[in-house]
Every structure is written in structure tokens, then in C-alpha cells.
């Protein structure tokens, strides 16, 4: 049976507003999902949500981690006319923010839509047309008449600004677009894996929805400290190279990605061989990424304590760190299946063989 993506659940998870250090709402949503599966949840000191299953079984402790935080901005200042200057949270290219809708969320959870303003396009001299605006110069247009109107809405310096949520299934229904697939697709995959493993008995499994990955893999440190796993997989997204503007070996629809390297970690050979064998045994489509320009939670997991056997599994994504990314349902399905098979197969003997490689 081919499992379909639960579009309503994916929409709910991806559309929730939660930039780094503002993960309370998405954390609560995910905790509710795990409660519905009767899985206990604990939090680490920064707010990561860690669900656990089969913790009283024998076997190596396996942690799967996906970060809950999305990239966004913080309100830095409100000028005299009610225009808002912002601080980036996570990396952004200014080219991709001008003219886009954003949502400001106030302390008391009110949401306001604002447009990232841009200079008039008519009569631009050629040198200006050929450059991108500095990210320091972008501003949000609330569509209000004065600074006081902005303040009356309850907007304050420090408020969260996130891309306006717009979930859309594309013209081939396997292609889905929304904000924050990096890394809410990882959170979604872990819930679906937990659901499919509901009746299974397996090695102790910890599903960590980490905070603050984007500014520096911080929740990964605290989560791994809380769990102290023997083996860990980070689930994140990786750049697809199947568009007219980007070429690499990674494509939408070609399966779950075994990330061989990122900017902070290398997948250990023994673990790669083992994951490849599980994919082959269970006919799970997989592909590879060599991407040393960006980090994942593995960067801080693998070198914790005396070292953790750890690698990243990824979902190929187009337009990462923009308001609308695109992923492919088949890659998501392959990743869910792989997590389930890894959890079911893992035991002391298998773990020993990975260490001995």
C-alpha cells in the first residue's frame, strides 16, 4: 500500500509560526501529536520536545532529531512612520524577501500581515537594477498611517516575524510547496514514523524535536545531553540540484538522501554502509548529497561525550530559506520507511558491527 502524505497534518505543522527561540507553539503542537500516540514527552533546558518509545527495552539508545525552528526575522525597530526594520534569524538572501508577505506575531499571539517593501522599479539606473539590496536595508510595510498605529496593534521590538504560511499542493500532486519545510518536514516524518511503529517493539527510541538549529545547532547540544544516545540520525533538508539554476546530484523524487558530509560533520563509513544495506533490503529509494556549505544538528551530536555514531538523513528541497520551498512526497515516504526499518533492525549486535567496521 502506498501511504499518502497527511496533507492536513503537514500543513498544520509547517504553517505554525516558530522561528529560533520562539518554538513554544510548534513544540506544543508536536507534543499533542505524541500524546495522541501515548508517547511520553520531556523537554530539555531550551525547549526541545523529546518523545520516547520502548525506553525499557534492551538495545542501543537511538535518537532521531529534527529541528522545530524556521528561519525568519525579529522586529528590530519601528520608525516614525510605522515601517519596521528587522534582524535576520537564520540566513536569508535579500533577493528572496522583497515583495513577500510576512506575519508578525506579538507577545499576546496576535498576528499581523506585512509586506517586505521594495524600491520603485520604474526609472532604476542600471547599476541599481543589477545589484541586490543589502539585507540591512529591508523593511516591513504594515500598511498603517503612523508609528502610533503600529504600536496600538501591540507590535513591539523583539516580536517574531515569519514567512506568511501558504501551503499548496502543486500541479503534480507529489510536489508540495510551503514555508518551513526546513525542518518541519523532519518533525512530520518523525511523527509518522512513531505512528507506524506503534505496535512494534524495538530498541529504545528518542524522537527529539530540537530548538535553535538555524543560528548554531544549539538545541542539538542540549537534546543530546538530555538523551545521551548511542546512535543518532538527524533529519534535515538538503539542496536539490534539479532546476535550471542549480545542478548537483540530488533530485526531488529520487528518494531519501544519505548526507555524506555537511559543514560540521562527516557520515561515518560503517554507518553509511549499514544504512545503505537497510535501504537495499527494504527497497527504499535513496540518493546522496555532498554539501559542505550548510550544517545540520549532526554537527553537534556526533562529537558529544565520547562521540555518537551519527549521520544526517535528508529530504531534497528546492528554495531552502525562502518563503516557499518545494519537496516531493516520495522522498518523504522513503525517509519515514527508512526510520522505521532502522528502529526495528537496531540491536546490540548490529551496533557492534557498525562500530567494528
Amino acid at each position: 500500500m502506498i501511504e499518502m502524505i497527511n496533507l492536513e497534518k503537514l500543513d498544520k505543522i509547517c504553517s505554525a509560526y516558530g522561528i529560533s527561540s520562539f518554538e513554544q507553539e510548534i513544540g506544543n503542537i508536536l507534543e499533542e501529536e505524541y500524546k495522541a500516540l501515548n508517547l511520553p514527552c520531556e523537554r530539555d533546558g531550551l525547549g526541545s520536545v523529546i518523545a520516547s518509545k520502548c525506553t525499557n527495552h534492551s538495545g542501543p539508545k537511538m535518537m532521531v532529531a529534527a529541528h522545530m525552528d524556521e528561519v525568519g526575522f525579529m522586529v528590530k525597530s519601528i520608525d516614525d512612520h510605522g515601517f519596521i526594520k528587522v534582524q535576520t534569524i537564520g540566513s536569508w538572501w535579500s533577493h528572496m524577501v522583497l515583495g513577500q508577505w510576512y506575519t508578525i506575531v506579538t507577545r499576546d499571539k496576535r498576528e499581523y500581515h506585512a509586506l517586505m517593501g521594495s524600491m520603485a522599479t520604474h526609472g532604476l539606473p542600471a547599476e541599481t537594477r543589477n545589484k541586490t539590496v543589502s539585507i540591512e536595508d529591508v523593511y516591513l510595510d504594515l500598511g498603517v498611517g503612523s508609528k502610533q498605529e503600529a504600536l496600538d496593534l501591540g507590535i513591539q521590538v523583539g516580536d517574531m516575524v515569519a514567512p506568511l504560511a501558504h501551503f499548496e499542493v502543486m500541479n503534480n500532486q507529489k510536489y508540495i510547496s510551503c514555508k518551513a519545510f526546513d525542518d518541519r518536514i523532519g518533525n512530520y516524518i518523525m511523527i509518522e514514523a512513531a505512528k507506524r511503529l506503534e505496535k512494534e517493539e524495538h530498541t529504545p527510541l528518542y524522537l527529539a524535536n530540537t530548538v535553535q538549529e538555524e543560528p548554531g545547532l544549539r538545541g542539538a547540544r542540549t537534546a543530546v545531553e538530555t538523551v545521551y544516545p548511542d546512535i543518532a540520525f538527524a533529519i534535515d533538508t538538503t539542496l536539490a540540484g534539479d532546476t535550471p539554476m542549480n545542478h548537483n546530484i540530488c533530485s526531488l523524487g529520487k528518494g531519501v538522501v544519505l548526507s555524506m558530509i555537511d559543514s560540521n560533520s562527516i557520515a561515518p563509513r560503517g554507518l553509511v554502509r549499514y544504512v545503505e544495506s537497510i535501504c537495499k533490503k527494504n527497497d527504499i529509494e535513496h540518493q546522496y548529497a555532498i554539501f559542505n556549505m550548510g550544517g545540520t544538528d549532526s554537527g553537534n551530536i556526533h562529537k558529544a561525550f565520547e562521540g555518537v555514531v551519527n549521520m544526517t538523513l535528508s529530504i531534497p528541497i528546492r528554495y531552502m530559506h525562502t518563503n516557499h520551498s518545494i519537496i516531493h512526497a516520495d522522498d518523504v515516504e522513503a525517509c519515514i520507511r527508512l526510520i522505521c526499518e532502522l528502529a526495528k533492525d537496531m540491536n546490540e549486535k548490529v551496533y557492534g558491527e557498525i562500530l567494528e567496521y
Binding site: 548537483n248 546530484i249 544519505l258 555524506m260 558530509i261 560540521n264 560533520s265 562527516i266 557520515a267 561515518p268 563509513r269 560503517g270 553509511v272 554502509r273 545503505e276 546522496y288 548529497a289 555532498i290 559542505n292 556526533h302 562529537k303 558529544a304 561525550f305 565520547e306 562521540g307 555518537v308 555514531v309 562500530l355 567496521y357
Partner: protein
């Protein structure tokens, strides 16, 4: 210096994250020289010489285990391999170097780094690793089952020794692995009132990852990081004996430890930028007084490094002699008390 053993070490494959083969070789060599082998999960291997003193301090003497290397990023259909660099070696240093690729099946395929230009006709300017590919003399059909993205690549074996002058790939760190072995051999029958952990740190050169995990396992009270010091700009020269690091961008050495070592051992001072394992030993856990010590190495990080056997002997002898001048009390004084 044991030239034959150094040759064997240099001619092993030990690129970051695939150090298991050389790690096992070193472990076998360490076993008869110590009381216990200590490992972490990133490939580090240490020989632990236990003291009978119940309140013994621990001195860590660490070399790196991994050599610089590359990773295959794509098997192109024109039969070449695109790659990324694991460390920031100047890409122009790579052109026309011999390489050895480790396949998924743990076999080797040899290749040469090329830029698709004719050396006899064109200017071969290399601005980045994107200008380079690996050519193995194979066609795509012969390669596609054999080589894969993610395969690791080392420089090709090229060890040569002549009159005590050694030229090889990977002298940094292999000559320092050899130093740990010779040091442990020299002190095998001696007893100290402090523990000694001498060994090699996995995934060090790529970014001091094993440095954290090895420090977590060893829990040193003081540490000596063994490293090469590049001779460019004639700061030091092969034949200068023991070199002592006074500054690098990643660590300010423990002043107390540094001054003590400089007092007991004849050393040449070195002020540089490149870090070493000291960078993460000294600031992991609660903090460890650390210094960096080594010898001059030409062309560090390239496929052809140079050092002198007499410097290796000087370093081994200096370290063995220094160990006789210290004890747990002194090691504790390098730190700031509990």
C-alpha cells in the same frame, strides 16, 4: 627513528572519518607498551600508562590521526570525478597530484587530479577546487559500479628517505604518530607518579571533532599537542630540533606549562596562525593547561612534505627527558587548583 615503520604509517590510508585501518595498526603497536587502550567513538586511539599513585594526575600527549583529503562529490558521465576538499588546502597545490580513492568495498582506485587543460600548451591557473577533477584512466561504464559520491580520497603514496631527510605525503601527522610510539617504547619500563595517555585523535585535522571526544574520554589534567610547524617564511627549518608553539589563532598556551617546558627543553619558539589539537583540548570540559610541541615540516598539507629524522629523534628524546622532570604535583600546578 624507525624509518621502516614510518614508511608503513605514511603509506596507509587515513583520511578524516576513514582512519579505522591506521587506527587498528597503531592500536596493535600501542598494546604491548601500555596498560590499557582508550578509544572514543570518532576513531581516536590512546595508549594509557597507568601510575600506581592513587591520586595521579593525567598527562595527555596527542597527535592527530587523520591526514588531509578529499571527498568525491560526483561521478561524472565523462569518466571524471568531481570532489570537494575536506580541509582548506590551497587548491592550486592539488593540480597533477597523484591520489588514491577508497571505495565502498575498501579497495583502492588510483587517480590524478587534473584540470582538463594541456600542461604543454595551456596556462593551468587554478582558482578553486571547482576547476579540478580526478582522472582515473577509466571510462564511465568501468567506474559507475566502482566509485560513488562520498568516497574518500588521499594523496598517493610517495614515501622517500635519503640520508635522514624524509619526503612524503602525510608526514603531518604520521611522524607525530611515530613519535608517540617511540616515546612509549622509550618509557616502557619506567614508572611515573602520573598517568600518561599518548595517542592519536580521529577527525582532528578536519575540525578538531575527535579532539573534543578524546578529551572527554581521557579527562587530562595537562596536555601536549604534537604538531608540525610550517617552514614557509623561514620561521623554522628542518634540523632546528624541537619547536614550541607560543601563539596560534586557536589557542594561547598555558603560560606556566610553557615556561616550564622551555626551561627544561631546548626549543625554538614559533608564532603562527594554524591551530592544532590544543585548540580543543584546552577549552573542553572545565579547561586543561596545554602546549603545542613539534618539529619543522615543509609544505604542510601538500602531497609532498619534508622533515628530518634527527628532529624526530630530538623530539622523542626531549619528551622522554621532560617526563622525568615532572610529577603529579607539578602537573597540578600547571592548572589553577580544583
Amino acid at each position: 627513528m624507525d624509518t621502516k615503520r614510518l614508511e608503513k604509517l605514511c603509506n596507509s590510508f587515513g583520511v578524516s572519518s576513514a582512519e579505522h585501518m591506521i587506527g587498528r595498526t597503531l592500536q596493535k603497536d600501542y598494546e604491548p607498551l601500555c596498560d590499557e587502550i582508550k578509544c572514543d567513538r570518532l576513531g581516536s586511539v590512546f595508549a594509557f600508562k597507568r601510575s600506581k599513585n592513587e591520586t595521579a594526575q593525567t598527562l595527555m600527549i596527542a597527535s592527530a590521526l587523520d591526514e588531509v583529503g578529499l571527498m568525491v562529490s560526483e561521478v561524472k558521465d565523462n569518466g571524471t570525478l568531481a570532489f570537494i576538499q575536506l580541509e582548506s588546502v590551497s587548491p592550486s597545490s592539488l593540480l597533477h597530484q597523484r591520489v588514491r580513492i577508497l571505495t565502498r568495498e575498501n579497495t583502492y582506485v588510483d587517480g590524478v587530479i587534473t584540470t582538463g587543460k594541456k600542461a604543454l600548451e595551456d596556462k593551468c591557473e587554478i582558482k578553486s577546487a571547482d576547476d579540478l577533477v580526478i582522472e582515473c584512466g577509466l571510462k564511465y561504464d568501468e567506474m559507475k559500479e566502482l566509485l560513488h559520491p562520498g568516497d574518500l580520497v588521499a594523496y598517493g603514496n610517495n614515501f622517500n628517505e635519503n640520508n635522514g631527510i624524509i619526503m612524503s605525503k602525510a608526514l603531518f601527522p604520521r611522524v607525530f604518530n611515530e613519535v608517540t610510539l617511540e616515546l612509549m617504547e622509550k618509557i616502557k619500563d619506567k614508572e611515573f607518579d602520573f598517568h600518561i595517555a599518548a595517542g592519536c585523535i580521529g577527525q582532528s585535522v578536519i575540525g578538531y571533532r575527535g579532539t573534543k571526544t578524546a578529551t572527554y574520554v581521557i579527562k587530562p589534567d595537562a596536555a601536549i599537542a604534537l604538531t608540525g610547524f610550517d617552514t614557509a617564511q623561514k620561521k623554522v627549518h628542518p634540523g632546528d630540533g624541537v619547536v614550541l608553539g607560543y601563539y596560534d589563532r586557536q589557542m594561547l598556551p598555558s603560560q606556566v606549562f610553557l615556561k616550564d617546558f622551555a626551561k627544561e627543553v631546548e626549543t625554538k619558539a614559533y608564532f603562527g596562525l594554524t591551530g592544532n589539537d590544543g585548540s580543543f583540548i584546552h577549552k573542553t570540559l572545565k579547561g586543561t593547561p596545554a602546549i603545542s610541541v613539534g618539529i619543522a615540516v615543509d609544505n604542510m598539507g601538500s602531497a609532498n612534505e619534508i622533515c628530518r629524522a634527527e628532529d624526530v629523534d630530538a623530539l622523542v628524546n626531549a619528551l622522554a627527558a621532560y617526563l622525568e622532570t615532572i610529577n603529579s604535583k607539578k602537573l597540578a600546578e600547571f592548572g589553577f587548583g580544583d
